[in-house]
């Protein structure tokens, strides 16, 4: 009857790390936060200051593979990420913090394979050895969202809020790769996650429940078939809007680009939704008192400041 039991959770993603004790973490910003979503990078660094943690950027880290390099070679993402983890180890850090759902999922998948298979670790180290590096398998990949909840704690976060969100109705949008597949992520239920809802509530906002929150934003097929990607955005944002959302929050810059960019194109089929899409650290940093003009909200195509003025969060 074992087939009827829920699947085992392989990795304990909640255990306290050395990095958490030191309040000093390896930081992997990912490509998009350094290119078209610089406001995400900046607001993350401002949030780290507000939280009193140090994010040490792994400046020589490469792209995680973005789920796309797997299409060309089955080993490349694993070895690229082993190189990144070795950089964190060299700094004495055992946590690599991400700010993108796709980075999270693919870096965790690579790490899982490296830690579970001596063959894969051996293959990676044989290549890293060519330039005098090795990965010892001591690193864990976590998203900033999980750090907020496990290391800072929701109670502490609540206490640090100086600008509560006044019941702003915020729809969480997780981004596939921070929750699925569960065998890789497993930090919370992929079918019924509530970490973003918990953070929204801690900031004084009202989380909006809707089926679209765990669905796909379509980012990865924007260049393949733009209208399909836009429709996926429209479908999800319609659901959020119909459930009363005034804004969206996402831990993923790829979802941000899709939701912020394509609602206008999806309007013909799904009606106008115009929901501004906050990056997770933007809204947390705002509630913690970081000056609004430093959060890059003016970079969004759907300006979130409109609803913030309406709800008297800013003047």
């Amino acid at each position: 009857m074992t087939t009827l039991l829920p699947e085992d959770r392989a990795v304990d993603s909640h255990a306290r790390s050395k990095s958490a004790e030191m309040r000093k973490y390896g930081f992997f910003p990912g490509c998009v936060a350094k290119e078209s979503c610089k406001e995400l990078f900046n607001s993350t660094m401002l949030l780290a200051d507000a939280l009193g943690i140090e994010l040490v950027e792994l400046t020589a880290a490469s792209c995680c593979g973005a789920s796309v390099v797997n299409d060309t070679n089955r080993d490349i993402a694993r070895v690229l990420n082993a190189r990144t983890y070795a950089q964190a180890e060299a700094l004495g850090l055992d946590d690599v913090i991400t700010i993108c759902s796709t980075c999270t999922g693919h870096m965790r998948a690579a790490n899982k394979e490296l830690l579970e298979s001596p063959e894969h670790l051996g293959q990676a180290n044989a290549i890293l050895g060519k330039f005098g590096t090795a990965y010892n398998g001591t690193v864990r990949v976590r998203h900033l969202l999980w750090l907020l909840i496990d290391d800072i704690g929701l109670d502490n976060l609540r206490k640090m809020v100086v600008r509560p969100l006044n019941g702003l109705k915020v729809a969480p949008f997780y981004g596939c790769h921070i929750i699925r597949p569960e065998s890789v992520n497993g930090w919370e239920s992929a079918r019924n996650p509530h970490s973003l809802e918990d953070v929204i509530a801690a900031l004084g906002g009202e989380p909006v429940d809707y089926a679209g929150k765990t669905r796909c934003c379509g980012f990865h097929i924007q260049l393949e078939k733009e209208d399909v990607a836009a429709n996926m955005v429209g479908q999800n944002m319609r659901m959020a809007k119909d459930h009363g959302a005034e804004a969206v929050i996402t831990p993923c810059p790829l979802c941000h680009l899709a939701l912020d960019g394509y609602q206008q194109d999806a309007a013909a089929r799904w009606g106008r939704t115009d929901l501004p899409t906050f990056h997770l650290p933007q809204l947390v940093a705002f509630a913690l008192g970081v000056p609004t003009d430093r959060l890059g909200l003016n970079k969004h195509l759907i300006d979130p400041r409109t609803i913030m003025v309406e709800r008297e969060l800013i003047s």
């Binding site: 796309v68 390099v69 299409d71 690229l80 596939c176 990865h220 097929i221 260049l223 393949e224 970079k299």
Partner: protein, 319 residues
């Protein structure tokens, strides 16, 4: 024994303008499967409740349905794991399909996509005389075992967000089943099969892993990636955007260590594809107006030579 309340979607396409719901209560052990609870409801309460079922043990693939909003096999789902906050279990037909009657849906679009695969072995020398069987080594067979477990229950198809907005997409099950023949050493139509499934939008998979809930652990997503790799290896339909995208992403990472967004857009859409580029222009202009454009060139990361060494060691194709 426990009181199991089923909140059942009721609809008859020939009769009802709109669906309604019935709450049906049966007394059964709480570990009873949802399928057995439905069987009891049909036998004891309302014989008109319709649903597909046959084997009752996750082999026939008939009883996939939405249970409290989650697509799953009713025969593999114990009632006590799914009771909702109202103390009931809601059962609905699978999404991405037209309902026919109650939990029974029209499966035709799903089967059509299978039929297009010609899902049977077609050896290159099938007309030649054979005095012995075609043999497959254990290593070659190992690649096919997971996909051979597919029971065509359509759970993955129902969960696929791309299917929900574009019914032309082959869907996870059909692509995984294409893999089953593409990687079968006995088959002689490997490249034709890759071309066929490419035409049926192989590259439209959004990598969302919604299909990771396969009740038989076929992992359709990983098989989709396997087929894409086969397409690149055999260089089938390489002028499509999908393979161009995969290769240009790999290329920019090899060159700079980063995924260079501008270069990826140009390389995928086509640098000289004026019409294609004009189509992406409105969003680009909106982003530019907000100062939200990716830089035209990306500065290589420190020690980018290491990244190039990795690409070369693994012989990763980049063009």
């Amino acid at each position: 024994m426990a009181e199991i309340k089923l909140d059942v979607f009721r609809y008859d396409e020939g009769v009802d303008a709109v669906p309604h719901r019935d709450l049906v209560t049966v007394d059964l052990p709480e570990t009873t499967t949802v399928l057995d609870a439905l069987e009891a409801a049909k036998a004891q309460v309302d014989g008109s409740i319709s649903f597909r079922r046959s084997c009752r043990s996750a082999i026939c693939g008939s009883c996939a349905m939405n249970i409290n909003g989650v697509t799953a096999l009713a025969c593999k789902t114990p009632c006590n794991t799914v009771t909702n906050e109202n103390g009931a279990i809601s059962v609905d037909p699978m999404p991405n399909f037209q309902p026919m009657k109650d939990l029974v849906v029209h499966m035709d679009p799903f089967w059509d996509k299978y039929t297009r695969l010609k899902p049977y072995l077609q050896p290159a020398d099938r007309d030649a005389d054979h005095d012995r069987e075609r043999r497959v080594s254990p290593e070659d067979m190992k690649k096919l075992v997971a996909v051979a477990n597919c029971i065509m229950c359509a759970t993955c198809y129902a969960l696929c967000p791309v299917v929900s907005v574009d019914p032309a997409f082959a869907g996870p099950a059909a692509i995984a089943y294409a893999y089953r023949f593409i990687e079968d050493v006995r088959d002689g139509r490997r490249d034709q099969r890759i071309a066929q499934i490419s035409e049926d939008y192989l590259w439209l998979c959004a990598h969302c892993y919604a299909c990771s809930y396969c009740p038989k652990h076929v992992d359709p997503h990983d098989r989709i990636v396997d087929v894409k790799r086969a397409a690149i290896k055999d260089r089938v339909m390489m002028n499509e955007r999908g393979p161009r995208h995969a290769l240009v992403v790999s290329k920019t990472i090899k060159q700079t260590g980063m995924l260079a967004e501008t270069e990826v857009i140009l390389g995928t859409v086509g640098r000289f594809n004026i019409v294609g580029l004009l189509k992406t222009a409105p969003l680009g202009l909106r982003m530019a107006a907000k100062g939200k454009m990716p830089p035209p060139f990306v500065k290589p990361i420190p020690k980018v030579d290491e990244v190039r060494t990795i690409f070369e060691s693994l012989e990763v194709p980049v063009s």
